[in-house]
């Protein structure tokens, strides 16, 4: 609170997004965790909430007749312009936000004050939802060749690795420690994924400290141990996800890559994913394209191409596809690394996992995947996503790229994923929001020291609780379909990859398609379910009537074995949100005939009338009560996904009921 110079400024104009023309007049509040803007318009009093941790940059623009504009860019790609009447107020807000957006201590982050009103037990259970030891069990480990090693107990060997690691049985502690000394940051080869079908593994590490000629016997033994752990294959692939030149440049610094002559039976392969700096700049360029107002065809296509973003996405996909093919088609184990083995390696391993294992395409499996390849293996969330004030050169959209890869796959295989786009967007949001403890710090060790699990809540439990919102209606958990790898085009071309407007332009409401397949499906699915229920109810009623008739007239009337349509997969629909109150209505048979209304319009779900009435998503704007005390009210409660849903107007909700 001591950083807030002015808690409230009146008569501020808010321009929300690039495509917006009209500015809304309202009051700006600064709280310890949020920037809140409340519109003056009495009928809506629309609220916009921005978490401090979402703020990426704040820019003071030239003063105009209406006031001093502040341009706020958010990490979730929201763009706001605040026009503050008084220069002094503007400066105060600016200075306050600069400080608030860059906390120096973890304790300042929102997750330490966020209280979803769960008791201790619930919180602990939440943290237990995703259990990596269960995941390794699912892979079929331990087995004859792989064992759980305690070599990294108390983080003695590598402080950015987890304590629980699977290594080949034949790799002794001596080999592991020796190998770790020959690898950047002592990140020795450890198992990331075990592919049961072929008994082969995907392992990960950092680059070897080979320089131009250095060798390490233990490291060579380590790779051999990995190969021997897959007796069916006589070689392993070593995949260096960096461009070859980058890897060569590293040799001058005593690092580098494996020399095929020194390691027996390896096949070495470069892939060419660029480093974090290139990626950061590429995103910057792409966002400039997003900020174009009504871009022409050439603005858009040239801008997108010049940003190189989709080319980078393709490189990451290529890495994943290469690994997946090696494992599933050639039956060879793969060791993946980049420089430190925590950025590109995480991307490549998790994309490969997603391609290989249908489990990772489920809601829970995807959480496990992120927990395993990103959180546990020491992806530096704090540095990459700038949660605490730090070196801006460390910031890079590494996991954003992975999330986009998943979306690209979802676009190509619309039925293969249990979750939907919203799930990805919400995960991205929370990686930056710091509302939950999952993505704090740079390593497991740091998180343990901070006692994250005792002091914060788990995002996974929250997402799981609301899983109804995240389901892909096209997905069917059907073993014959979901088992096995996704068959990607053999030569993935650039034209396969698309611009993800739903992510990068998601706050530009006018830019989003009016309808989506998902919406229709949800509607159709619901309608199917309702029809089924009504059919059943009608049949029941029919039976009753017939019984009555039978009783009265004792007429045989052996007619109408009511046709049984109950076979139409009710069970499937349980995954959709069960309409709550229909069963109650069922017997009363409302007299309104659908033909009275615009019969089918009820099926028409558009973006607008789909507006969130979900308490969770709109809680922060649902308060009917006065907003006068906002400045001192700590935003808490169930408010979980601010951002795109944070502003809301009631009109659209009414539209839901009007069309219904």
């Amino acid at each position: 609170m001591e950083h807030i110079r002015t808690p409230k400024v009146e008569n501020v104009r808010l321009v929300d997004g690039i495509s917006s023309k009209k500015a809304a007049l309202g009051t700006l509040y600064l709280t310890a965790t949020h920037v809140i803007f409340v519109e003056n318009a009495p009928d809506t009093r629309k609220e916009t909430w921005i978490l401090h941790s979402q703020i990426s940059t704040i820019e003071k623009q030239a003063t105009t007749a209406t006031g001093c504009p502040l341009l706020v860019r958010c990490k979730n790609f929201q763009l706001l312009q605040l026009v503050i009447p008084q220069e002094r107020d503007c400066h105060d807000v600016y200075i306050s936000l600069l400080r608030l957006a860059r906390p120096v201590k973890y304790e300042e982050l929102y997750c330490f004050s966020f209280n979803p009103k769960l008791d201790r037990e619930e919180r602990e259970q939440g943290w237990m939802l995703i259990d990596l030891s269960e995941e390794y069990k699912r892979m079929g480990l331990p087995n004859n060749y792989w064992q759980l090693s305690d070599v990294n107990r108390d983080y003695r060997v590598c402080d950015s690795y987890p304590t629980q690691l699977y290594v080949p049985k034949s790799a002794t502690a001596h080999i592991i420690v020796g190998s770790s000394k020959f690898r950047s940051r002592r990140r020795f080869p450890a198992l990331s994924y075990y592919y049961k079908d072929n008994h082969v593994s995907i392992c990960r590490s950092s680059q070897p400290l080979s320089g131009f000629s250095a060798r390490c016997l233990e490291d060579e033994q380590m790779l051999q141990a990995i190969r021997k752990a897959s007796p069916g294959s006589d070689f392993i692939y070593v995949v260096d996800t960096r461009p070859k030149l980058n890897a060569m440049a590293n040799r001058a610094a005593g690092k580098g890559y494996e020399n095929e002559d020194n390691y027996s039976n390896i096949k070495f392969q470069f892939i060419g994913i660029e480093n974090i700096h290139v990626m950061r700049n590429s995103l910057q360029k792409m966002l400039e394209v997003c900020e174009l107002k009504s871009p022409s065809m050439s603005d858009f296509l040239w801008g997108l191409e010049n940003s190189g973003w989709l080319r980078h996405i393709k490189a990451i996909m290529d890495a994943g596809i290469f690994i997946a093919k090696a494992v599933s088609e050639e039956g060879a184990s793969v060791l993946v690394h980049c420089s430190d083995g925590w950025d590109r390696t995480a991307q490549a391993c998790s994309v490969a996992g997603l391609l290989l294992d249908p489990h990772y395409r489920t809601l829970k499996g995807f959480m496990v995947l992120i927990e395993k390849d990103w959180i546990s293996f020491g992806h530096k969330f704090n540095h990459r996503y700038g949660n605490l004030d730090g070196d801006p050169r460390e910031i890079s959209p590494v996991i954003d790229q992975f999330i986009e890869c998943v979306w690209q796959l979802m676009e190509q295989f619309p039925c293969a994923f249990e979750f939907n786009e919203r799930f990805l967007i919400h995960i991205q949001h929370h990686i930056y929001s710091c509302q939950f403890g999952n993505f704090l710090c740079n390593s497991q060790k740091e998180r343990q020291e901070l006692k994250i699990q005792e002091r914060t809540y788990s995002l996974w439990a929250h997402l799981w609780k609301n899983r109804g919102d995240y389901l892909n209606p096209l997905f069917r958990d059907d073993p014959s379909q979901t088992q096995g790898t996704l068959h990607l085009p053999t030569m993935p071309c650039n034209f396969m990859y698309k611009f993800w407007s739903g992510m990068y332009n998601r706050f530009e409401k006018g830019l989003q398609p009016r309808q989506s397949v998902t919406d229709y499906l949800m509607a159709v699915k619901e309608e199917t379910q309702q029809l089924e229920e009504e059919l059943e109810a009608l049949e029941e009623r029919l039976e009753r009537i017939q019984k009555v008739q039978l009783n009265r007239t004792q007429v045989k009337s052996k007619q109408s074995e009511p046709s049984k349509h109950s076979g139409f997969s009710t069970s499937d629909n349980s995954t959709a949100n069960t309409p709550q109150d229909y069963s109650g209505n069922m017997k009363s048979f409302p007299s309104r005939s659908p033909s009275q209304g615009d019969e089918d319009s009820a099926l028409i779900l558009t973006q607008d009338n789909l507006k969130s009435s979900d308490p969770d998503l709109s809680a922060n704007s649902d308060q009917e009560s006065g907003v006068e005390d906002l400045s001192c009210r700590s935003p808490s409660g169930g408010e979980c996904v601010p951002g795109e849903d944070s502003g809301k107007d009631r009109d659209s909700d009414e539209a839901v009921f009007l069309t219904a």
Partner: protein
């Protein structure tokens, strides 16, 4: 059929039949049995045995052996080899899997060992339609069709005129068309002389608010220009219930011309079909931009959307002016009507629209499709319209009764020269040419005006009923399905729970990029931040009005039975992959692509159908034997029984129902071996990369 080519010297095969090692039976008698199934009137011009059809360019192991015949209609390859790789999921009843109609052949190349036919458009048609829509497509050949259309739109102040009966006035107008009631036949006859091609203004469509859409050729007579123009405009104004002004749109000045469209398409084809992707990969987006095709699609959509604003919001009648009024006007008139009138988004309606604004309005199919000799006038104007329609469909999936497969098949059908629909430059030409033909062949015409050709709308000629169901869009929420219930079926009520669209957020109370304000547009490649403290006021109030209109439209829930408008910013216009990539193996996603969603949705929609039908069954009465047309689903994919849990069928791929295999333009059909997987990928570097590598 006029393209009967002179017989060439007999084909000879220089190839030996494949060595049949495991097959005891001699291949000789087999091949002898291979006889083509000819259509009535189809004549085999030439044939040759022992022809090998190459399936893959890098291996001969999948090649098929058989006989090649050339008839006056098609080139046909007959084989009884099984086709392990070529999977066809639909059958054209006129064309076999290995047939190419002569009019579809762009170029024949003599290859060193085999004859390759680069498939420019498509090997064999598609699937047929009309299944569910039993209504007949109005052809607008008769007075009554026009009269019905006038009545359907509720246009008052307009009448059908018959002055062109027998094509006495213009040879490129239909015999009947609609004109302002206040213009007398006599006046029209006089005016007609002043118009290019004697194509005087004729009515296309009327909005329920009374404003009309009219198309016209230019007035070539400079002296008379003002006067006639005045008279026409006055007449159109008089036909408007509010006597609103007329808004004139000069298409030649605002839209790309047909040469540009053709050039763009040639480049697009080059990019999508002929070029190896490894070479274009890194420059894919700029190459695509470089074709200008998407820009043109966008231009037509944008212009049409602006005219929608004029008609709907400004309540002005719109006159489309074009030199001849036979090309760009067809696209714009059709798109405006598709956006404004939900009828034209049904299959019957869409077909009637094509009859009305293309076939009868004298779109020169013969020239533009280059059916006869290679024509200078070739231009894919019709395809551009289909593409633009696809963009609308992509943005409003539930507003269209037909699927994208239907649009692709419709495009293919322009290449099958059996149907009269797309064969001529005008209805007059059809009558004249076929009459001459009939006379030369001593065919008695009787009362008929010219020979009757099969209509392309009779899809049953080309496709089975089952295949035709692929034309139906499972997302379509039409008014056609009646919901009858004895007051006992409650309407579908959505739960309060909201679904995924919210993930993108809020209604668009914002500008949506529908109209680009030119003065704000940055120059190409300049990425200036467009957020300005105070957007400069726009001088043109017209533009502001249009923008306001679009913004309002986008801020409201879309009414699928009302106006639909497209989003037009660069990121919203997409490449129609099914149409352009369906022959490209690299672009094929096995068990993926939109078709998998289509499949799932079809199953769901079918379940809904079945259930609502079950509900509709009269209570108390025994379940009647379901009448056949009810059982006949409108969907290709049917929901199975209770225990049937079909996943994505193996045969589905992103190019379904077309098969990209066998397209020799592409390198390979089987997967790239892992060893070669990345060899093509260039590992490029910037100086930035090295400087920052740690």
């Amino acid at each position: 059929m006029f393209s009967l080519k002179p017989p060439r010297p007999t084909f000879r095969s220089y190839l030996l039949p494949p060595p049949q090692t495991d097959d005891k039976i001699n291949s000789e008698p087999k091949i002898k049995k291979l006889e083509p199934v000819l259509l009535p009137g189809e004549i085999v011009v030439n044939e040759v045995n022992f022809v090998r059809k190459c399936i893959a360019s890098d291996t001969s192991q999948y090649d098929l052996w058989g006989k090649l015949i050339c008839s006056n209609f098609r080139i046909s390859f007959i084989t009884d080899n099984p086709m392990p790789l070529q999977k066809f999921h639909y059958r054209n009843l006129l064309l076999g899997e290995h047939d190419v109609p002569l009019t579809c052949i762009e170029q024949i190349v003599t290859a060193s060992k085999a004859n390759g036919i680069p498939s420019g458009g498509g090997g064999g048609g598609g699937i047929g339609a009309g299944g569910g829509s039993s209504q007949k497509t109005p052809l607008f050949e008769t007075y009554s069709d026009w009269d019905r259309e006038v009545k359907r739109t509720g246009a008052s102040g307009w009448r059908v005129c018959s002055i062109n009966e027998g094509y006495m006035i213009s040879t490129c107008l239909p015999e009947y068309f609609v004109v302002p009631s206040s213009l007398a036949d006599q006046d029209l006859k006089i005016f007609s002389h002043s118009f290019v091609g004697r194509r005087m203004p004729f009515w296309c469509w009327s909005h329920s608010n009374g404003s009309a859409l009219v198309r016209t050729a230019l007035i070539k007579d400079v002296l008379q220009q003002r006067k006639i123009d005045q008279r026409i405009c006055n007449a159109i104004t008089k036909s408007h219930p509010q006597r609103s002004d007329v808004y004139k749109s000069d298409l030649d000045k605002t839209l790309p011309n047909i040469q540009e469209i053709q050039a763009a398409f040639v480049k697009l084809k080059q990019l999508c079909v002929n070029e190896p992707f490894e070479e274009t990969e890194e420059k894919w987006l700029s190459s695509l931009e470089n074709t200008r095709w998407l820009e043109y699609v966008r231009a037509f959509l944008k212009h049409s959307a602006e005219l929608v604003y004029m008609l709907e919001s400004k309540r002005l009648s719109v006159v489309l002016q074009e030199e001849e009024g036979r090309d760009l006007s067809c696209i714009v008139a059709s798109l405006v009507q598709v956006m404004l009138d939900p009828y034209f988004r049904t299959i019957t309606g869409f077909q009637s629209l094509i009859q009305k604004e293309w076939v009868m309005a004298g779109y020169p199919f013969l020239d533009r499709c280059s059916h006869l000799k290679r024509s200078e006038k070739e231009a894919p104007v019709f395809l551009l319209f289909l593409d633009a329609t696809w963009q609308l469909q992509e943005q409003c999936p539930a507003a269209f009764e037909f699927s994208e497969t239907y649009l692709a098949v419709l495009h293919d059908s322009t290449r099958v020269a059996l149907f009269g629909t797309f064969l001529f430059n005008s209805p007059h030409q059809r009558v004249q040419q076929s009459t001459e033909f009939a006379i030369s062949k001593n065919i008695q015409l009787g009362d008929e005006k010219g020979l009757k050709f099969p209509s392309v709308w009779d899809w049953s000629l080309q496709f089975t009923a089952k295949d035709r169901t692929l034309f139906h869009n499972p997302f379509y929420i039409g008014k056609s399905t009646p919901c009858v219930q004895n007051g006992s079926v409650k309407s579908f009520k959505r739960t309060k729970k909201s679904y995924s669209s919210t993930l993108r957020g809020m209604p668009a109370s914002l500008k949506n990029g529908i109209i680009s304000d030119q003065e704000l547009l940055p120059r190409r490649n300049s990425l200036i931040l467009k957020v300005k403290p105070d957007p400069p006021e726009q001088s043109d109030s017209q533009d502001r009005g249009a923008e306001q209109y679009f913004r309002e439209w986008f801020s409201k829930p879309a009414d699928l039975h009302g106006v639909i408008l497209p989003l037009l910013s660069g990121m919203h216009i997409k490449l129609w992959k099914l149409c352009y990539f369906r022959w490209v193996p690299e672009a094929q996603i096995q068990r993926g692509g939109f078709i998998t969603a289509f499949h799932k949705v079809s199953l769901l929609a079918d379940e809904v159908d079945v259930l609502s039908r079950a509900l509709r069954q009269p209570q108390g009465s025994p379940p009647e034997a379901p009448c056949p047309e009810l059982v006949q689903s409108r969907l290709y994919f049917r929901a199975g029984g209770p225990h049937d849990a079909p996943g994505t069928p193996d045969f589905l791929s992103s190019s379904f129902p077309f098969s990209p295999v066998g397209n020799l333009c592409r390198r390979s059909i089987s997967g790239t071996p892992l060893g070669k997987f990345l060899s093509g990928a260039k590992i490029w570097l910037s100086t930035e990369t090295l400087a920052n590598e740690d």
